[in-house]
Symmetry: C2
Subunit: 244 residues, 2 copies
Amino acid sequence: MKRISKDSPLPLYYQLKEILEDMIENNILEPGDPIPTERELSEMHSISRMTVRKAIMDLVNEGLVYREQGRGTFVTDTESKLKYQLSKLKGFTKVMEEKGLETETKILHFELKEATKKVKNHLKMEKNQVIEIKRLRIVEDEPFAIETVWIPYDLCPDMSQEMLENNSFYSLLENKYGYYLDYAKQTIEPRILNEYESDLLTVEESALALLFRRTTYLKNGRVIEYTKAVYRSDKYKHEVILNY
Amino acid sequence: MKRISKDSPLPLYYQLKEILEDMIENNILEPGDPIPTERELSEMHSISRMTVRKAIMDLVNEGLVYREQGRGTFVTDTESKLKYQLSKLKGFTKVMEEKGLETETKILHFELKEATKKVKNHLKMEKNQVIEIKRLRIVEDEPFAIETVWIPYDLCPDMSQEMLENNSFYSLLENKYGYYLDYAKQTIEPRILNEYESDLLTVEESALALLFRRTTYLKNGRVIEYTKAVYRSDKYKHEVILNY
DNA sequence: TATGTTATATTGTATATACCAATATTATAT
DNA sequence: ATATAATATTGGTATATACAATATAACATA
């Protein structure tokens, strides 16, 4: 097992957090299991109990464990973990992956072009160049959604079709460009498919669908994408979790 | 201003938290403003810096303030507060109220009846009696949505139409019955209105709408309501915030 | 004027310690 | 066998202290 190093530049509480996260991730600690007590962890790793508490409180805030005074600290059960994760911003591929579904993406269109006024507005940008990408999302060999994404050219000047074919957009942003995602505003509307769309999605014309519009912000405040996506409604039910 | 009492049964950090929350609520501390430094608060209230930190860290986790090492602690700006609040479970009236819109509710139907199998399933209950309520939601004098709610009779045996006419459902649950709401699962689908619905909503027949199905859970794990609601889509755009 | 340095203020991390509160367990009395 | 009391365990609150990391302002120097 990983151990805590006092020489590491990482804070001690953070190292402990990682250790516990790993154990939960790898099911060494299973949902419902108690984790070692504060005093045990403190002795085990030769760090103070207060430092242990800091690590555990972080995990509580992240929803991985919960505490009961007098009883102990326990790994959150999967049901509640799902509840926690469902209101998070995640890419299409990742969402489907977590449901155990196989996905495929066909890029229908990849173009560097002048931004229309509307798109510029959504992207809150000065310059005029945007990358426009149209993709067909396929789940378990069935066409599922049509996405059109606009990205400010100056934020990803060397983005290519090939890169997108081999990586998810969000992972590119994080790993290649070093951007930190913050949040997205999304609106949902009902929609009747036009001929082009129903054709691509292999449903009868004028079928019902959901239209999502999403504007995604980086930590630095800039808009990194504006996306319009139509999801066929016969195969897909949009689900959200609302916490009180 | 409120002061901290060492004799209070409430923890010191909690009292400080309330004081700061009040100051933010009443705009004594405005969005973007720095709050007093940890050492200042520590001296002002004669409590230790660590206790001050605990109070502030709670506020950070609740999204009311954010911290920058070396600079200070600042009141979250309204934009981010909105972002934080939008993924919360709230009643219809409260949501509209916060947007500054006037609402009205007409109860179309209030009945104690046998639950159908589907409803029983959604409510995860043993007994058969449910209260079925149908309401027309009106915003700024325009019909907006039609809601049908099913509530397990045993959880609210003395619920009456009159009570609902004078209070919001969620506030009744909290204040009259002492139930604690936990979270809700909600699905969203596109829908074409039938004659009855389009009539009530005063839109042309077969207009587009959004159908929400919501199952709400209490802290004790029981389902308190199953709701189906159709919202007209010409006046209403459903908006959600996704955090990364 | 520009640039690097120093001082200062702020939050962040970490320890040691003490006692409190809630719960679980064990021992005891009936 | 069952209730009650005592004890141990576990997380919760609170203090005092020291040093690290970061940001800003003041200052010195080329």
